[in-house]
């Protein structure tokens, strides 16, 4: 009940705002806007949420760990960052919305869209045809663009940057789609195949964008660029020259080692980090150095006991029986170094000497 009232409330606010600010046609908006908005809003929200969660996963072992408070705080305090991390966040959110809309379309959640069967029946390659239910990524792209890009109404460089990065996120979804096939033939032979395009796991989209994050392009614009017509032209020209597959940012990132309440940054003190263990990637193995060592902190080792399933065996027929094993797990955390104690001692000595002299 409350949820629906809130939805209608914000819809009303949006409508009023559109009328007063941008001079949109009220009739045009009423014909399409509210209905489409209400139909797709749940998918848009779920998609954005999946983007946030993927962002947290991708940056779990980075100094910046995709905190939600930073985004909210920057919104409320009027301070908007335009750094590399902001670029990634916009891309992954846009990708999440598009991904969820496309998948829900294939699942039949919407009446006005279905599988992308434009290529069905055509010959795709050696011994296989297009068929089945290809994910309608075009539909997801259009709706996602309407919702996400509509939030950027400014004409400044920040707005251009966000629009560009939103597009990068959508292209990441399209670029990671994969072809899946099904065999047809007598007795399981693959005489012919039917293939369709399928969304990958969203993790693949996140991995793809993380790579782009590491190679993001910094755009240098003249200081003091305002909302004049000449500035807008320069901004448009600059962003059009950058590939739609590369993330862009305007500012350098702050020092995420330190706590910064103004920016909503918690710093790396108290963070858990990874040091040893099989199945760890290079990036993960260097977590302690990256979060603690390079930030001037020490690494503290703490032990904990966990209970987990082990020695699973299959019993005919059919059950899997596992044992419950206790295991001591070692975890590592960033803590302040003991040098400060020495510094405090030195400080005390100095004051004592001053007393003597006096």
């Amino acid at each position: 009940m409350f949820m629906h009232l809130e939805v209608y409330y914000y819809a009303f606010i949006l409508m009023a705002h559109m009328k007063t600010c941008c001079g949109w046609s009220v009739n045009n908006f009423l014909m399409t806007g509210p209905k489409a908005y209400l139909i797709y809003s749940s998918s848009v929200a779920a998609g954005a949420q999946s983007g946030i969660e993927e962002c947290k996963y991708q940056f779990a072992w980075d100094r910046w760990k995709c905190p939600e408070r930073a985004l909210q705080l920057s919104t409320h305090s009027g301070l908007r960052s335009a750094n590399r991390e902001t670029a990634f966040f916009h891309a992954i959110s846009s990708a999440g919305v598009m991904y969820t809309l496309t998948r829900n379309c294939s699942l039949g959640d919407f009446d006005n869209c279905g599988c992308d069967d434009t290529r069905n029946g055509q010959r795709g390659g050696q011994g296989w045809l297009w068929g089945g239910c290809s994910d309608n990524v075009g539909f997801g792209e259009v709706i996602s663009k309407q919702f996400v890009d509509a939030l950027e109404t400014g004409q400044d460089a920040r707005a251009a940057m966000n629009l560009h990065n939103n597009e990068v996120g959508r292209k990441a979804v399209k670029g990671t789609m994969q072809r899946t096939c099904k065999c047809h033939g007598v007795s399981g032979s693959c005489t012919t195949q039917t293939c369709w395009l399928q969304l990958p796991e969203f993790r693949e989209v996140g991995n793809y964008l993380k790579e782009k994050y590491h190679r993001a392009v910094k755009v240098d614009l003249l200081r003091g660029a305002g909302n004049s017509a000449a500035s807008r032209g320069a901004i448009a020209e600059t962003f059009n020259s950058i590939s739609r597959k590369e993330l862009v940012h305007l500012e350098d990132s702050p020092d995420y080692c330190l706590e910064n309440r103004t920016l909503g940054l918690p710093g790396t003190e108290g963070r858990e980090c990874l040091r040893k263990g099989k199945n760890l990637s290079k990036w993960e193995k260097r977590t302690c150095k990256r979060l603690c060592g390079d930030c001037g902190l020490a690494v503290e080792e703490r032990r904990a006991e966990t209970v987990s399933s082990c020695n699973c065996k299959f019993h005919w027929c059919c059950a899997v029986k596992c044992e419950q094993c206790r295991k001591t797990v070692t975890k590592y955390y960033c803590v302040k170094r003991s040098k400060r104690v020495k510094n405090d001692n030195a400080s005390r000595r100095k004051s004592y000497r001053l007393k003597k002299k006096h």
Binding site: V186, F314, C317
Partner: protein, 592 residues
Amino acid sequence: MRKPADEHHFTMETSGMHLVGFWLHVLLLFQLSGLGDSASKDIVCEPITVPMCKGIGYNHTYMPNQFNHDNQDEVGLEVHQFWPLVRIHCSPDLLFFLCSMYTPICLQDYKKPLPPCRSVCERAKRGCSPLMIQYGFEWPERMSCEQLPMLGDTDRLCMDRNSSETTTLSPPFPKPTPKGTPRHRATAKSAPPQKCDRECHCRGPLVPIKKEAHPLHNRVNTGSLPNCALPCHQPYFSQDERTFTTFWIGLWSVLCFVSTFTTVATFLIDMERFKYPERPIIFLAACYLFVSLGYIVRLLAGHERVACEGTGDQQHILYDTTGPALCTLVFLLIYFFGMASSIWWVVLSFTWFLAAGMKWGNEAIAGYSQYFHLAAWLVPSVKSIAVLALSSVDGDPVAGICYVGNQSLEGLRGFVLAPLVVYLFTGSLFLLAGFVSLFRIRSVIKQGGTKTDKLEKLMIRIGLFTVLYTVPATIVVACLVYEQHYRPSWERALACSCPSERQRLGMGPDYAVFMLKYFMCLVVGITSGVWIWSGKTLESWRRFIARYVPCRTRKPPVSASSMYSEASTALTARAGTAPTGTYHKSAPSSHV
């Protein structure tokens, strides 16, 4: 009170901030509503509805499966194509294997994949792949066994019935009651170890001949049981032993072919070099060339196509047949040329006796070459025609060749054992007589001078080669005696006892004896190549290649020929025998 404050806050913000704030509020709103949970991709268990896969031991599966089937209706359409194969019971594991691939097991408390073990796949493939091949289908590539985990792998669990037996001493639940025919068959298989049926009847793996229209009806019996045939493969030998047999025969037959081919080729490019009494070695090698070819044909065509008849459960070894061309071809190559090689060995020992014992010259021996060829080729021809006329050709369940005497003791004794014994005995007599004479003639040769050493070496080499032949021949005869003596009891045990009892009492043929027999059948062909291992062979080939260069054609032949002729003349002259008046240098070339 909240609303006015929010409204006031929004009116003061810029347009962008307003929208972003709205966006985040929407996110928070829907996050609280719990809509995020709908994004999970958990596996959903559903009851198995494919009729073929009901009752295989588990009841729930999930879709899509690894073949990208969206629902069980789609699965049923494809998996049902295997139903004829399941019905024929080519393997008791086939149904479970197919269903565990097409309708994978779904467990609520274990989310990792749980495929069938590689052993299940290999058992099903071993039983059913030969049958599929007969109908023109290969084992599907996407069901290859290599991609499945091994039983006992702790990282990747898999399903096999043996897993329960190895991990738990007592099963936690009673064995499932047999619901389908395949399970009933599996249960029936486990019954024999408990109670041993000692009644004599045509039981597996023997092949009962039930139809009166069958060509073998009332014509075959095994272990005194009428209308009971032996299976395609020797039932006493395991699959590993059968595979090794193929490898063993292939190894020696290829070596024999290479060795004898080299010998024959060397002879053809320099026929003057090999005179009597050593010339029969070349013909003996030629015979072994064709014998090895017979084995190679079997390797290329396969055990079943050469030595067996029928399909599926009714496949049996060939009995008393002259029909199949492949069988007849293999029989003729191995039997005809095998017997011819034995006769050539007798000829070799005889000519050696003439030369070493009776002091004949090579020209005198060569004068009778047409009689040697007549005996060596005519006698095996008569015997081969007799075997074919009597329809005594049959399949060998061990080697997969066609021969005579595999299913008939009379054929084995009359056409194989008796001739070999006669040849071995005759040749040995000649050898013995020759050696006795050689000791007496040795003193005379030594008085002659230095040039007699070469001739003496030649005599000793031929004698040594001839003696070396007797060892394999004797072993083959011994193996055949062993086989013909015990075969009736082996066949009777198949019909009148159960596998566990046969294994416990040690009934059945000795595998090593058969391997030894096949090796000895071919080893002479391999060792005959030693005869040409000398500098002369290199010289012969060099001369053969140099024939295209005119300036080299004359010197070596003249010197070699004159040297050998001179030695021969010296031997005959100093031996004290009267020189033959008909001697001419051009005479040897006319004796082919």
